[in-house]
């Protein structure tokens, strides 16, 4: 009488859309815009192309909108288009480098929400270097697999002789644009601030156009895939790395599988674990593996992680972006050194701004949060950055909540520890919290110096 069932990921998420950021028609249209724009920016950056994205939202009917997004990225290889948008947990981003996408579900969830609320397929035109694919895609939700129109996708693929590349997506969904409008505009504005090399045009349903021109003409260096950092490694990860390199001597394996481990460190770690460094990986016993992992986790002297898998803003670019958008007289950004949590390299960048067009609610502290260049506009109360700000005694820095200052926190990592699949807020990881705290103290001190100077200047002027 108990009915045991298995569900596919698509089936599961179709009944749990709240955990993916599709709570209601207001939030859904925001999340869909977010997921599509992040995909376009990821694709352009990974292909080393200065992004040019046209976003348009048209009204189709009462409470029904069409989101159209067009980018100048590399396009999507035709054979991967159906599953990229018709299968949950399908992605080209399951690799260890900084990108906005990571879950392999954002695009598919937007398509699913559109399908659930309007029954309409998503329309994709993908122009790669050699081919153009023009496809409509729905999701077989029970099976977690795409249904393509035409059924044989190759009937809709032809050679690309236009010289242009990029992806165009049209998605129809139930939405409440009026109530989502302010958040969508803020999201695009903050995206332009944190990705000043991107050109983004946005056309609203009523025809109003917004254009964010490129402010810089160069991309940040493309992140390279990294090996895991040994700090915080766990037994499962260790065993998976072993499975890829079973015949190496364990001392060589440690150097090859992890970043920041050289020959000397490898021998040190194995010494403390009491494991013969010349033993082959596939000959290690369970207890030896356990001791190696324990020794890795206790080891204090690892080189900090190499930052080549990350693409931080950089202090100057971040300050310039904030100045341009908020027009503040004082802006200071600090980039903390690279660290790792649970094997994942990360860099925290903290900025503070005073004056200009900063609008602060009474008694509140204005906090802008970013993760891998994604602006986070919801659910800030439980976010790790909010927790840090609560601990700061702002009086010591010459300000109080409600004063015209704003704090900016940008976390870059190969794996952002989101608490929700809707990428709303970030988990309270002690290593990350510490870096945010140190960064906030540093920039808060700089702001205090600036305010003191301002104060002295006022006094000299009065006298």
């Amino acid at each position: 009488k108990l009915d045991f069932k298995e569900k596919s990921p698509a089936d599961f998420f179709s009944e749990n859309m709240d955990v993916c950021g599709f709570d209601n028609p207001i939030r859904a249209i925001y999340t869909a815009v977010r997921e599509l724009l992040e995909n376009s920016l990821d694709a352009c950056e990974a292909a080393d192309v200065l992004p040019k994205v046209n976003l348009e939202i048209r009204k189709e009917g009462e409470g029904i909108y069409v989101i159209r997004i067009e980018d100048n990225g590399p396009g999507i290889p035709p054979e991967h288009v159906p599953e990229s948008f018709g299968k949950i947990f399908y992605s080209s981003k399951y690799v260890m480098k900084q990108q906005r996408g990571r879950f392999g579900m954002g695009g598919t969830m937007a398509v699913m929400y559109g399908q659930i609320t309007t029954q309409r397929p998503v329309h994709i035109v993908s122009m790669t270097e050699k081919q153009i694919a023009d496809l409509k895609i729905k999701i077989d939700i029970i099976r977690n697999s795409p249904i393509t129109e035409p059924e044989n996708i190759w009937k809709a693929v032809k050679p690309n002789d236009t010289g242009k590349q990029g992806t165009t997506i049209e998605l129809t969904l139930e939405g409440n644009y009026q109530r989502a409008r302010e958040k969508i505009l803020e999201y695009i504005k903050q995206t332009a601030m944190i990705a000043p090399y991107a050109e983004i045009s946005f056309t609203e349903p009523d025809g109003s156009k917004h254009l964010y021109k490129r402010e810089v003409e160069y991309l940040p260096p493309i992140p390279k895939e990294a090996k895991p950092h040994p700090r915080g490694v766990n037994l499962e990860l260790f065993r998976r790395l072993m499975a890829k390199d079973p015949r190496s001597k364990v001392s060589n394996f440690l150097v090859k599988a992890f970043q920041s481990i050289g020959r000397k460190t490898s021998l040190e770690v194995l010494g403390k674990a009491d494991v013969n460094p010349d033993k082959r990986v596939n000959k290690l016993g369970s207890e030896e593996i356990r001791r190696i992992v324990k020794s890795l986790r206790k080891h204090k002297g690892f080189r900090p992680p190499d930052a080549s898998s990350l693409a931080p803003m950089g202090e100057e670019m971040f300050e310039a972006g904030i100045k341009r958008v908020l027009k503040s007289e004082f802006v200071k950004c600090i980039q903390r050194p690279p660290k790792a949590y649970e094997g994942n390299p990360f860099i925290v960048e903290v900025a503070i701004a005073y004056g200009g067009e900063i609008k602060v609610k009474e008694g509140e502290i204005k906090l802008y949060r970013f993760a891998n260049r994604i602006p986070l506009l919801y659910d800030e109360w439980n976010d790790v950055s909010t927790r840090v700000l609560k601990r700061i005694n702002w009086k010591r820095y010459g300000v109080k909540p409600g004063d015209p200052f704003a704090v900016f926190v940008h976390i870059c990592s190969t794996n952002i520890p989101y608490k929700t699949l809707g990428k709303e807020y970030i988990a309270n990881k002690p290593e990350i919290r510490r870096e945010i705290y140190m960064g906030v103290l540093q920039v808060a001190r700089e702001m205090r110096n600036y305010l003191n100077k301002l104060e002295r200047k006022k006094k000299t002027e009065k006298a």
Copy 2:
């Protein structure tokens, strides 16, 4: 050069444990306890058995604990044990009635966290009416499938001639019991308050025992599986219901597929949709289906959902539980009438208590949140109940933040709209928010009357 990959759900969640409530060793041991205890209580209630649960946490080594839980429930059929704990999205609770479990992943995630951090299998002894199964289970994470010891589970199954039934689980995991202790104890205490028919014993690593005896000797009525309520139905759900009943006339289909639709309402809805009531379901065109769903969503006159799929506390039982635990002089509970959001029936119960052992932080309002009899102890800031409390002008009710009063919100539904897979907080659904708001106003007024009486009594005594 782009590496497109598909991941199984287990593989995905093994790298995204933060979205499931396993953020770190403190939170993980709490979440594992939660998931296991909720499974035991669900199983006993569904089998109409007064729950008796023994929970024990033992220290195994430095930062390593064993959680052992034993219940007197129906046990798990041996053929379903491996996948119940070794496969994500496998569940007997994918049905439309109130239960704590719903996702089909809690138990498996606890096993996975234990395996990732200690490589140990979970040990399960399941005693059903006729069989005893004694199995160790690990998860093939890449494949999302169980690895059982013994490989042929039937070698570990024998007849049950003990006359006893129930499930015993031993799970070894990395945890930080010291820092999780307070929350675990609070969780068990609040569970005893909201499930006063359960007997729960808890033994801590240092040997201290806590026993929560049964306060009532009867179970709430067992929820029955419900049909969806038409309010807020969407096109995808409608099509799936159609697929189950293709040959009925659409007027009969509406009455059979949904609760709260009688013949008269069915004809009304079809009339507004301009669809022939005698047309067979499998003959309906896309446009007709669209109009029917639109008409269902706009229809104002549906009977409220039948509450037989829900198991609210009831005002008296809730008040008694609060009085017993907090010893407050004044406790008032209001049960709101059954409503629905997005096709899911729900009932909100709100209570307020004044005085007694209520501890409130300065300037804060003490809020206890429950969903389907699960105490929610984390991430309250973004919860729908917190949003409601922020809108209340407490001065009008004779109290201010920091006074010794507490608000309790219990939401029962066939589908609780959690925002996280760790079941931390609840999405801001307008229908639910409205019922909480109305309930809080009602109980706040009762508290004001009580405080006024108290005030008058003081004055008469002085005079």
